[in-house]
Symmetry: C4
Subunit: 295 residues, 4 copies
């Protein structure tokens, strides 16, 4: 454990952590392959809306293949968070992701929002998601991201008990850290709302979205600005795209431009989250705790 990493102790996130090969910062392109699950959970009647279903299906049917091509073209290995329901409905798509060398990580079974579940329901969602990924792709994921980016205070322990290495659902740091979970810990790789495509692109009447749809140029400008500033800060830039949104041609084209810019930065380590987490684990950081607010 070096000095910089030591700054992660005491409940305060480190400004940065050392990156492999002397890199200045890290970057990851990640994808949440929600497909239908994101609109079905908590709202089963949405299954009756064929157009809505088709809107979500665009992700695994068209978006994922296009995005896999992009990633290959730019030589990027990525992390795909796949709900178990998506794996069951689109097994070929999920296998194709895995076969291309990308990481498959956990994203619930039916995209269940953890904070809306009982503990038994949350356990069931995790177990069903694990079983589906195992069954479909032969994968035992080491990483988890909470559906709706809404981790419960129970989730970290449930993940640690099941041998997960990392979570990627919290928003309180620019760099990964060890999150204390009882006597053990999870690597936490933070995300943030500005590095997500949902707010920029998603619109489904009565279901989600501001009602406005941004241009790809605007979305990429937002993400690029944060990439540049996090690079300066030595942080870990984690972009999240949804194939049903960013798999559309013009958005994929803009994302491709951004990928080219990012991989052209010699001082940035581009990696899937699993590798980032393994690297952070190797630093031997002192875990820090997050205290639930008392009222």
């Amino acid at each position: 454990m070096n000095d910089r990493a030591a700054a992660a102790t005491g409940g305060v996130p480190a400004d940065s952590v050392p990156w492999p090969g002397g890199a200045r910062s890290a970057a990851a392109f990640t994808f949440d392959v929600d497909a239908e699950s994101a609109v079905l959970w908590g709202s089963p009647g949405t299954a009756d809306r064929m157009s809505v279903v088709s809107h979500q299906a665009y992700g695994p049917l068209v978006g994922v293949p296009r995005l896999l091509d992009l990633l290959e073209r730019h030589g990027i290995r990525s992390t795909f968070f796949v709900p178990g329901y998506t794996a069951h409905r689109y097994p070929d798509t999920v296998r194709r992701i895995a076969d291309a060398g990308h990481e498959i990580a956990h994203h619930g079974y039916l995209h269940e929002q953890p904070t809306a579940l009982t503990e038994a329901e949350e356990v069931e969602a995790i177990e069903r998601g694990l079983a589906a990924l195992q069954e479909v792709a032969g994968v035992r994921p080491v990483g988890y991201r909470a559906p709706m980016w809404d981790l419960s205070w129970r989730t970290p322990a449930l993940l640690a008990e099941r041998g997960f290495l990392y979570d990627s659902s919290l928003m309180d740091a620019d760099t990964p850290y060890e999150l204390a979970v009882g006597d053990t810990s999870l690597v936490e790789i933070p995300i943030q709302w500005a590095l997500d495509d949902w707010e920029q692109y998603c619109f489904l009447p009565d279901i989600t979205g501001s009602g406005l749809i941004e241009t790809p140029a605007k979305a990429v400008e937002l993400w690029r600005a944060e990439f540049s500033a996090l690079r300066d800060a030595g942080g870990c830039w984690v972009l999240t795209n949804h194939p049903f949104l960013s798999g559309r041609p013009s958005r994929a084209a803009a994302l491709s431009d951004l990928m080219a810019e990012v991989v052209a930065c010699d001082d940035v380590w581009v990696a899937p989250l699993g590798e980032i987490a393994a690297h952070v684990r190797g630093l031997g950081l002192t875990p820090r705790s997050i205290e639930k607010p008392a009222l």
Copy 2:
């Protein structure tokens, strides 16, 4: 059936289909002539709001004539989806569209959202729409677009039974395909929310809209980016404008610029949806099924 088209089998949309004359991609400018129907269905009290009614009336009264002029200037034949109620309230406008050589297609009677209807109600909406278009314009439409872009799982069969050639309400592909409907099929010409003017321009307090109104330059930037990328991908770009929105002078002017750009692309086939559907039907694609999500 050629090899590319064969890729449409197996439940996965094709990357592309062959286009007439060796064109690289296809493009259609379409118009949903909702007028008052879009604010009256499900909310009859809106009829009491004279300003709201006048906002919608702008479409057939001013927007359609202006847009017909644009289309003529650019030599574009288009598809107008006309609710039966619009045909009854504005028969001259609807006849003028037909007389200008554009396709009139079905868009419900009072813009009824299919997923909110019983089967009997959905049948009634389709039948009343057919009767109105026949009565007013002497047209038997071959194409259908679900009001609110919200197709029910029942709709395709109801359309096939009535001899429709195509639907344009789903969002799971970049190119048209044959949608399996029992033993037969419909041509499906996909749309998407980013290629619609409602999200960019529409605001009616307490009724619809994000509350924000974008510039025509921004809207056209969004549509142009997707046109360019779908052209590269060999897809079918289907833009939807509402005359009560895009018939406003500055929006029509921006749309005119975009029309000029699109028709200047020699490798793009610009056509009404009915002709695109007929072309696709001629390819003899194997229909693909969409399975309703089970929970």
Copy 3:
């Protein structure tokens, strides 16, 4: 009545009307001086929110004086729609508007939404508004704009009975027209949501607004585009600003730039709505009727 004007008969708005001095089009800068009334009507508890009240008070206290300076600098005479409540609460401001040579027009008493009122309530709102403007500024207005731009089907007759010359609340044309009201008529000077500053600038938590606030540059770009296109079309561009919004320094500065551009157009007639209405009345247009939608 000339040929072009004759086009206004038959229920269809004219493409244009002849403008004085051979002008190509007309333009008006109008202001809705809602102040507190817009947040109090229908929600009297808002009076308890001192910050909200102060947000609205900015209009008559700071915005109006600044905007009057702008108008004077650019030599523009304008129309201010003043709710009676504003006149009672800020009599000096309202007299200052009138003294500067601008038109004072009717905008309800407490900004009452006409479609939410009984006929008796609507009559009362009109009468109280008239009394307040008379009492405070010695003005008998000839023009009316519905609060919330939400005219009822009753309003035109109530206005005609009271000798109003014009209304400015409908949205179904690019140019003014004679609106049939029984055996008589009102001049209607249409407005539209894209030519309003509320959608661009207004945010009051729990009360109104998309939650987003645009830059003055974006708002002016939107309004300029429509000015330019309506000028080409020979229409009548009617911009609406609220002093509590567009009276802020950077918005007023951007509006000033736009004013300079508009008055620099020699072929555009810039006038208050009362003069535009009088001109239109002089054309002897055949009134057109708007039929309430039947269901």
Copy 4:
């Protein structure tokens, strides 16, 4: 009391006030360190959402240190409005702010919206806030800003009774003024929604935000335009940033650029609000009253 200041009498805000050293205008960078309090008050169940809590925690953990660095680099002393709950949860952060020479001001205890409280509750919120700031940072604040920028009509008297010098929650002027409070007064330093980062950046599903997230370039363009225009007007530009939002790297970078531009203006007095209030108090302005609207 000089002539310009005299213009503040009579219930109308002055166009400007004289600034120290002959400065043309004043400017303040202020920060509301809401952290968790802003999402917990009135909605205690939000404490169960670990991701949401972490989103808010980013402010004191990462945002404040970064922003303190920025302020130091640009030689700016600022005002931080700190809820008592934030002081108790992040005492080191709050002490660090004070130690860096910035002003700590009052922002409620748990970010309680004053207009939603009884008088007893409002008193309790003020007293608990005072006690927390005293206990944690040894500070007796002279300034107050209402949580949710929603001052009640009671608040000014409660502040005056406790010896506060100023409030910064009203929106009816471009320059500070003396707000009459019975026989005494408070200096009021106005704010406005367009000079806040919440509307530009904040998104928490089901909790707050338009759903859209703007680029730092757009936000800074908005703030810069108002800075420039208020500078011309001789006003007092008060920008409000939230560390959990504007402490993100790319937003902080854009804010840093804006800070550089502002401090480079030799004719602008950049100061914390406490110093601005003290200066205004020294002008001996005649207090003006704001009357609660009667209905």
